[in-house]
């Protein structure tokens, strides 16, 4: 771990220090009641013409914490990231970064915040988004040119630092173009580019979906180290439960723009409270051999009357347990979590201070129907 402790922001903190500090600290990012629409902007009088892609999303991320956001295509997970980094204006809600409401920033304030590079977004599929003509060093330096405050020498130093952080040899690879390095290396170049401004929060959209299993684990353990050693707060957006199980402290499950469940990773994945989460975890391919729920038990029988679209719970059309009460949209409710001090020994990093929530009328009793 020598490479990392040379770097200023994290100054030699042990993981245990990081954990206690993380529990003490206020969230770095706090998203409250976030709603986003695409299409024609909703006005007081007219809502038609716009599509609600996110509705009432709450999320908190502390320094040194990794929060996973699970969702399939169309769940709004990418929109959530774009809203947080200011690429998409929300209709409603608050996005507080270190106590400051980003949705209220405009003009000079917004530009200054962006230039500071405290919040970085690693786009989906960076393998393809790297400029084929630029060298690795030029690519990594790009965000610094935007900030424009450093001297040439300082910039070069930062680039070397960022490349070292992700385990790439700046001397060996710095002058190469993306075509001359491997896929796993390119993914790390993209990560170095996001780290070069020394951000405090990193949002990554499907950071490992294009990689094979070995390189996936490599990039994930890199993120894990960065949060432990630099106190970096990380949001990992993924459709793949497997890539979150290994590193995320908490996960939030998005379904059609609603946050249907969130809680500590082990709790959510091992004993989901929302029927959709249960379907997701049951469907995920696995090499583990223990028995588990069959996804077929969680699907709607073909004989059931189709649930009217856009009525009540967003998951009702696909929910086996939908009942009359589900015609009213369920709100996210806080559920009791097991005592973190007793059960946390396996991860050692779960915060324990964040409440678990689930948005389902039948969270307490749907399992009984499985017999």
């Amino acid at each position: 771990m020598t490479t990392v402790s040379e770097v200023p922001p994290g100054t030699g903190e042990s993981p245990t220090d990081a954990t206690t500090r993380q529990q003490r600290q206020e969230p770095l990012l706090r998203v409250e009641g976030l709603s986003v629409s695409y299409g024609r902007r909703a006005t007081a009088r007219r809502r038609e013409g716009s599509t609600r892609v996110l509705s009432g999303v709450d999320l908190a991320v502390r320094p040194g914490e990794i929060v996973g956001i699970i969702g399939e295509t169309g769940s709004g997970k990418t929109t959530l990231a774009r809203a947080v980094v200011g690429l998409k204006r929300p209709d409603a809600g608050r996005i507080a970064f270190d106590g400051r409401d980003l949705t209220r920033l405009a003009g000079r304030g917004l530009r200054a915040f962006r230039r500071s590079g405290q919040l970085q977004y690693m786009f989906q599929d960076p393998l393809r988004s790297l400029d084929p003509e630029s060298t690795v060093r030029q690519t990594v330096a790009e965000p610094l040119a935007v900030a424009g405050t450093l001297t040439r020498d300082e910039r070069e130093e930062r680039v070397t630092e960022a490349l070292t952080l992700v385990g790439l040899d700046a001397g060996e690879l710095g002058a190469r173009t993306p075509g001359l390095i491997s896929g796993g290396q390119r993914q790390r170049v993209a990560l170095a580019r996001a780290l070069v401004t020394r951000p405090r929060l990193l949002l990554t959209d499907e950071p490992v979906s294009a990689l094979d299993a070995s390189n996936r684990n490599l990039v994930l353990s890199l993120l894990d180290r960065l949060r432990r050693e630099l106190g970096l707060a990380v949001v990992v957006i993924s459709h793949d439960l497997g890539s979150l199980a290994g590193i995320a402290d908490r996960v939030a499950v998005l379904y059609r723009g609603r946050l249907v469940e969130q809680g500590r990773t082990a709790d959510v994945l091992e004993r989901p409270r929302h029927p959709y989460t249960a379907l997701l975890t049951a469907s995920a391919p696995s090499v583990r051999r223990e028995p588990r729920l069959l996804p077929a038990l969680l699907r709607v029988p073909a004989s059931r009357e189709p649930w009217p679209e856009d009525e009540g719970c967003v998951f009702a059309p696909r929910c086996r347990f939908a009942a009359p009460e589900c015609r009213d949209e369920p709100a996210a409710t806080v559920v009791d979590e097991p005592d973190p001090s007793g059960t946390d020994t396996d991860t050692g990093t779960a915060t324990g201070t964040e409440r678990a929530t689930v948005a389902c009328h039948r969270a307490a009793d749907w399992r009984a129907e499985l017999g």
Binding site: G167, L180, G183, S221, A245, L269, L279, S283, P285, T347
Partner: protein, 422 residues
Amino acid sequence: MSRPPETAAPARTASAAHGPVPPVLSVDGLHVTVGGPERVEAVREVSLTIGPGEAVGLVGESGSGKSLTCRSVLGVLPPGCAVADGSIVLDGDEPAELTALTPKEWESVRGRRLGAVFQDPASYLNPSLTVGRQLSEQLRVGRGLSRTAAHSRAVDLFAAVGLHGPGAIYHRYPHELSGGMLQRVLIAIAIACEPELLIADEATTALDVVVQAEILELLQRLRSEQGLALLLVTHDLAVVARSCDRILVMYAGEIVEEGPTADVLAAPAHPYTEALLRVASTAEAGTGALETIPGGAPETGAELPGCRFAERCPYADAECLAGPVATRLVEPGRRARCVRPAGQPSGRRQDAGAAASAENPSAENPSAENPSAENPSAENPSAENPSAENPSAGNVSGADATAGTGATTAGTPEPEPEGSRV
């Protein structure tokens, strides 16, 4: 319905190649070359059989040769690639040697006796025709049905692959359907002529997990209802774990392990399979260090003196590099291309935890042909000084070109009888 592998016993007996039931497909000693004039071997000495109704998983990372193998079977190799040696026999009522077919003869095999689905269903459909029309076309040409008979059969098939409202689906255009629905349409087209074998090449890779599980279940159902044999080609060990009777693991152009799925996952006989399994399980379990496989795969077609996994193998020793490694019978129905006897490893140089900290910069092989996902190198940034642990690195190139040219017995404790090599 998904079925645990244990329930598939009949198919497993059929897989024994010399059993009473002839296999649906037998590939024997297949070699595929790529790269035009300076041809190199991307697939070496691949042999496999698939019994009637059996589901076989072919697993490997990109560049391992799994897709070239399956495309050889389908007779759709990309330009510059060619079958250099070996035979591919489709058995059944009319046994056919596929490597010898003329383009005209292929028409009565591909889409009729062999069905296939791929990763990107949209690109295999005509965007300007309704999906029903495209399926009907297949039924009229392939099975000689009349227009009305084809229409009603098409609606039945759409229902059989689990599309809701098949009558309405018939009139939809590809862009109106989701990826999962399109994959079902492709499966309907692939099974329209009741093929003996369905090949699914990364067919669920691009789908969301819930849909992926549905498609895998559909394939299992078609298999049990129609006796369809399945070849599932994928990079993801987890995908085949619950849906295949047997798995074949490919690495750097060769099949390195073969056996019943449950047995292979319980106790892999080849170090590469072992590493793959460890990498997959540490991520899933969410406990302990995330494992990686140090180093990268050799460049496509690289000629190496010995075992092609040696550079990344924690057990490699002089014997592994002495000459080409042939396959070894591990137990009946199980084979591995490794000199190491199954069971307790001796002289293991890296324990499980240390495997994640081996840096091997010399193993980086960005391939000029397909740099994107090829040969991803997996050196660990925090490595201390692992080079001492990997003496094989650096002295495995520039070897003579005898690797993979047959059932050589060099370094093999138990030579395989002719014709039953992996």
